[in-house]
Point group: C2
Chain length 251, copies 2
């Protein structure tokens, strides 16, 4: 039995290389050491070195080898799981002061479309939250969130202008395990345009999201509408590594 489990060893190697990139020891365009050299440096067999490289490729940090040495790619600051869940975390991670203006917090019967997304019966109670979100005082997005009652009830007592919903729910013991998102462009309804200080007609970037517990139970469904000039997104992909994005066409 080796003192380090192989799964820990590959993580240690990947971590070491990530740090080297972050600290400028390895820069975009640099060629990575060969597998043999990495094995020697890390006193490792080929397996963990290969797995570390596969991990870094998946993260878009290095090019795919395909028989040749990998190079360091231009790194992007990718989103964290918490930043997907929480506009507060997302804005803060970009050095921008998050703000909220609550327009509605309500316990109400679920309309059919919301009930379907939460996998509950139409008319069962949900907690709905409608907020304008600000970054450094400027309007960035309009949020409409609907929570299953067992989770949403914690929100009814929160100060939704100043507290992070996500942090509050975590403290109440809720653990979101996975998220599905759909992105589209929609014409701005007048109420959203007014909140976002957009002249009509305008378009919005819409992100519809559902969050789930580990057991696969829906927790909430969200409709986020961003001022299009205040958001951009992107991704790096390397050949041979799966992209998690789906892109549908409607004709």
């Amino acid at each position: 039995m080796s003192p380090i489990r192989p799964s820990q060893q590959y993580e240690a190697i990947a971590d070491h290389l990530r740090t080297a990139m972050r600290e400028g020891e390895l820069n975009p365009g640099d060629i990575l050491p060969s597998e043999a050299q990495l094995c020697e440096s890390f006193h490792s067999s080929r397996g963990p070195v290969r797995q570390a490289m596969a991990t870094l490729r998946n993260e878009g940090l290095i090019s795919s080898g395909r028989g040749r040495r990998s190079i360091v790619l231009e790194a992007a600051e990718t989103e964290s799981f918490d930043a997907i869940l929480s506009a507060t975390s997302w804005l803060s991670s970009h050095g921008i002061e998050p703000g909220s203006r609550t327009l509605l917090v309500a316990r109400q019967p679920a309309p059919a479309d919301i009930a379907a997304k939460l996998e509950i019966g139409e008319g069962e109670p949900v907690v709905s939250l409608h907020r304008l979100r600000l970054g450094d005082g400027e309007p960035v997005l309009v949020e409409r969130q609907h929570f299953r009652m067992e989770y949403g009830r914690h929100i009814l007592g929160m100060d939704t202008d100043h507290e992070s919903i996500n942090r509050g729910l975590q403290q109440a013991g809720l653990n979101i395990n996975n998220i599905s998102r759909t992105l589209s462009v929609i014409p701005a309804p007048d109420d959203d345009a007014q909140l976002l200080e957009l002249e009509q007609p305008s378009a919005l970037l819409q992100l519809e999201m559902r969050t789930f517990t580990h057991a696969g139970t829906p927790v909430a469904c969200m409709d986020y509408r961003y001022r299009p000039d205040r958001i951009s997104m992107g991704m790096n992909n390397t050949r041979g590594n799966p992209s998690p994005l789906w892109v549908n066409v409607h004709v």
Copy 2:
């Protein structure tokens, strides 16, 4: 020394589970067998089983375990590397007949912004391609692509209304290794709106892309502008697995 390298073994296990999901042996919401059961089924130690699970989590196929059994998630048909590179592949993979109307193929001096993206001098020759892309005969996106001369010269002889540029360049020996993409929403310029049969004012979903060789040399830069009602995209994320998306805010 074991007869199967661990790296092959984890791939075999991941493949087996993927097939089980595709063929309906495992369905969304089902609980996966325990690590111990998988070890037994595959005559494997824990390492490869864990690595197979990590791979499936990265692909958004199963939930993260965190001490509990993973469940099978609703799978999305994610994009392939070729579908990122080629609208022809992308449309075909959705059962839609791809079409092209070429508006311009030209060898021309690179304007400053294109030269910067291709990392060449301003005024050096590039091959530019401007096409309307159709799906089942309906306008879907407007393409503007600019290739470095050494790659683009192959395009000058192609039938760009009927041939796949990507396939042609592959046959000429070009191997794209990685891609960076940026997504935003822009007001539709009049010429694009007319091609896409949109009434003004309209918005477009813009995807700016750069492709690179293994050595990190830019091959081409692209500006794709989609009719917003003909495209949607999305992603599934599980806690503990890195998301490759970056999301910036501009205030």
